[in-house]
Symmetry: C2
Amino acid sequence: MAETVRSARAGRPTLAVVGATGAVGTVLLQILSHRADVWGEIRLIASPRSAGRKLAVRGEEVEVTALTEEALDGVDIALFDVPDEVAAEWAPRAAALGAVVVDNSRVFRMAADVPLVVPEVNPHAVRTRPRGIVANPRCTTLSMIVALGALHAEFGLRELVVSSYQAVSEAGRAGVETLRRQLSLVAGTELGTSPGDLRRAVGDGTGPFPEPVALNVVPWTGTLQDDGWSSEETALRDESRKILGLPRLPVAVTCVRVPVVTAHALTVHARFESEVTVDKAREILATAPGVVLFDNPAAGEFPTPADVVGTDPTWVGRVRRALDDPTALELFVCGDNLRKGAALNTAQIAELVAAAPS
Amino acid sequence: MAETVRSARAGRPTLAVVGATGAVGTVLLQILSHRADVWGEIRLIASPRSAGRKLAVRGEEVEVTALTEEALDGVDIALFDVPDEVAAEWAPRAAALGAVVVDNSRVFRMAADVPLVVPEVNPHAVRTRPRGIVANPRCTTLSMIVALGALHAEFGLRELVVSSYQAVSEAGRAGVETLRRQLSLVAGTELGTSPGDLRRAVGDGTGPFPEPVALNVVPWTGTLQDDGWSSEETALRDESRKILGLPRLPVAVTCVRVPVVTAHALTVHARFESEVTVDKAREILATAPGVVLFDNPAAGEFPTPADVVGTDPTWVGRVRRALDDPTALELFVCGDNLRKGAALNTAQIAELVAAAPS
């Protein structure tokens, strides 16, 4: 390491990436390498079976260490992207050792004493973290909430009806490999044209999904909750309410998996306190930090996952006022579920914490 | 032809299939071959370049003739599935020659003096046809309207918010070939993981779609209308209102193309006059003609295009009461866009006309 780099990093906070070898961890290391460098040491931590591997971050090779209390010693901020049961055990242990934990599991998101933070929407919330833990919202919420937060600040949100088009990389490498395997089965065939043929071709190869995803859409993501709801649907409602500070906001959601590798899309019907105009909505979206307005259907411009994958912002297109309700807007929103939907928001929260310690 | 068949058909109405060689025409001939046979002669008509081809219907080879007034002479009911400009010219000519025309183009659907008919929902409307023309709704409308009609009859519909997941075969053979070609490009590659890579790989090969559809979802179907709306979206609203007899029903729609060969899916948020229960809704859907309730997420049961392709009914799953509104239901609806979405409904209308001449 060059001496100038070493001295520039002196006195800066130590960051740990816990879960550095996973799909989100991999993107997180890329993001940390490209954003303004505010960190001293960056420590890479993973499960014992990944210990000893070397990964690149900020142009340097860093050896991965196993998750232990020693590995967390002296860490100021720890970014966790690990299975729920690992987060449930280790996030509090890391906090007890003095780190502020930014956690991307499901464990803490709805805990009353854990803030759920989107830096563009509720940055103030990061300061009140009695357990030393800040939660990162799920990718589906993050794929739409920056745009909705900007519109809410101007118009006052009253109701949401949301349908999702969710990418397979939300289910990690297994999700992507499952879609790739199914695509190689269907390419060049007549599959998908008679009932059950896809299911027979795929056999037991549905991977983390309940049905074939190639040439199909599957109206199920998450786990079964009461009354037929999926965990993804109820969580999208609960997280949106918490982030927007609207605990009674009506939110209707149906979540659907689509054969896209990366980048979630959502249709949103958003009703506001009073009459809205498309011109004002477009002005808000065009200037909101973290949002790109891409909305000129006459020129063929509207966001799709293929445009959006690998980029940071929330992309918004198809902005229309509801035909029968002057207080409602229709939107098509699109964002990279691994970047803003996971790794980027985690990194942004860490930067907020570093800039404004509690 | 066996003598018994010939004599059984004597005195029955003569049916013409105009557009017999297209994607919908092909399905229509299969459907006519499998439904109860109420027809005398079935005449197959297409463009001059298809004249002389032989196609199978009811187990017989029938020669295709070119669309002329002679070909329509003596026809009682003519099913039209042809380009809009052909329908605009020839449907009135066929009607003037004495045929009742059942037309699947966009030309007549919203005309005040042309009924728009779904036999399970508004069969009575078929009797009032001052121009001798009955219109068939578009596939997107037909993929949901039978289920919604049944719920409306019980609960009284007050508002719809709909998002679509539309199959490529809606764009005919060119749509299917485009998806197949794109799939053969992406299978076994890393395409779909960096911005613009799909677009570069596909080049000009987007066929009838504005963007790549393989590994993507595209929030655009139809043509551009006022204020950023697509023709598919405004038509889904207008046709639903006309079929349900609710001319002021608020309907919010966003239409999205997905990489599925055949079978449209839609998410529906439906608000009714007063409180609804899931038990009652399920009872209605389980017994409604033309509807299959397939809704047991605990057993992995919900409809997907792969289940539904090649079948006749409207499949409904994910039936939930809105979390924040006891008067609203959430549904996931799925139907074959070539069968009930086009050919089957046309055949059903023809049977209605044959059973009850005006």
